[in-house]
Amino acid sequence: MAFWIRACVSSDRLQMKEPMTATEIIAPSDAPGAPDAKTVPERARSDTWRRAASHPGLLIGAALVLAIFVMALLAPVLAPRDPYSQDLTARLIPPVWATDGSWSHPLGTDALGRDYLSRILYGARISLLIGFGATAIAAVIGTTMGVLAGYFGGKADFIVSFVVNVRLALPAMLVALVVVALVGGSLTVVIWTLGLLVWDRFAVVMRAATQQIRTLDYLSAARAAGASVPRILLSEVMPNVMGALIVVATLEIAQAILFEAALSFLGLGVQPPTPSWGLMISEGKSHMFFRPWVIAIPGAALFVLVLAINLLGDGIRDVTAPEGRA
């Protein structure tokens, strides 16, 4: 298990390695004016933004995420109909580009005659809400544990590593299903269940990030100046591990969205008639043989959203990776 944690971190750290600039190829210490290994590599803000502007993946991801976000926000305005209103005379109408399709239901309707476009738009809200909500909870739990473990080491580290291993040993999907089955499915339950289950990656990455800066000079300076531990953690450690935190958070949001979709697909997530994309796929399953769009459309929506978030997260990671890491 320790190796997995190390591997997970090492791949993160390695993937944080950016394409080296000329001076770094000579060797970090050989480059004229290269930063001392014990001080924090200062990164000009303008530098980061410039790199961000020329990173295609980041730009595409950011644009898509923003677009979906706006669509979700404006769902009440953009949706042509009420996503919940059924019309049994208009069941399973194909999307506008198929034969028999029409603009009155641009993405068709489902088995109960509900407009698909509206349900997709409102479904975006569900996905984003659950994604952000669960990740926020997981981030708080995981970051606290990881930073404490990384900063204090010793017993704290042992305890946190142990708890992480226990969490990893539990089959997350099964446990989530059990919880939702026994407590009842609703938005709040799903968010909390996911949040309390997916914090492990935060703990692992934040622990590693904290360890990497723990020995740096400016932390010793703060300690020597008599700063209290909470203050050091908040004002010195946190700003510098923020980069890693943002990257992990972005990628975990994507994972949380997929997790919720899977739960809803199995019927133990968000409950009908709420328009969760996973639930829509599940409801459409029995009709998919002759009307593939009922699963293709929500599936594509999920794919695009998760892809966009992953591209954004990978892009942020590429762009904010510190220089001169061996």
Binding site: C8, F162, V179, A181, P292, D314
Partner: protein, 305 residues
Amino acid sequence: MLTFALKRLGLTLLVLVSVSLITFALVRLAGDPAVAIAGPEASQEEIEALRIAYGFDRPLPTQYVSWLGDVLRGDLGYSNILQRPVLDVILERLPVTAKLAGLALVIALLLALPLGVIAAARRNTSIDRLALSIAVVGQALPNFFFALILILVFGVTLRWLPISGDATFWHYVMPAIALGYFATPAIMRLTRAGMIEVLDSDYIRTARAMGLPRRRVVFKHAMRNALIPVVSLTAVQLGSMLSGSIIVESVFSMNGIGRLGWQSIQRTDLEMMQALVLIIAVIYLALNYFADILNGLLDPRLRVQ
């Protein structure tokens, strides 16, 4: 090496005990087992009688210890829903999941390892970008959706493969793909990252400086070291495939323990749920333990003190 193995074993057992505690607490907290066994029609007296008969009236810690004792003796409980011992049912269904996960892993490795190595050796070329694109796309596709697409394309439209059941090898192909593809990006990225780091290392430079041919340097000298973390990751992926098997087995109607878990939740088969979580955790921990040992064997720095 022996101390290494023993220390790991000790830690693993500790984790296992914690898992069993959490599992027990989870199931007990969520519902009244006596009610679950008795069924919705039972009267209050019947429920009480059941409670005493099964020992649910004892304090919780006692129940836990007693359950744990049973488990250690091989008795995982009795499913009242299925009217069979839990262990029997699980053992019946385990082979299906094992075969499925095994095939899924083979598929994942066959795709991920070569891609990772080649992408690293040909960094920043089109094949590298292709590999990374595959990884990015693979990680964004929900597995249940992919499973349904596979069914639509290969099962219904092309009719090449059967879409449900687990009778023959061909029944396993689509489910294995649906289960395995999600592991491919992670393994590929780790392989690639590991290879890049190793190929940049000083000892690879030494190998080149001594005139060793490039292919040998990459495949013999570099891979030996780069693949060490991949072993651990593979074990973890295998473990998470057990989780993912719930979905895949349900979609493809295969009788493995994933679907068993799903069914036991639907039927509120508490004994089964409890046992399954524990069994899956045991399998995961065992896989990780063996991965750790394998790591110890592969990396001489750990092996020889």
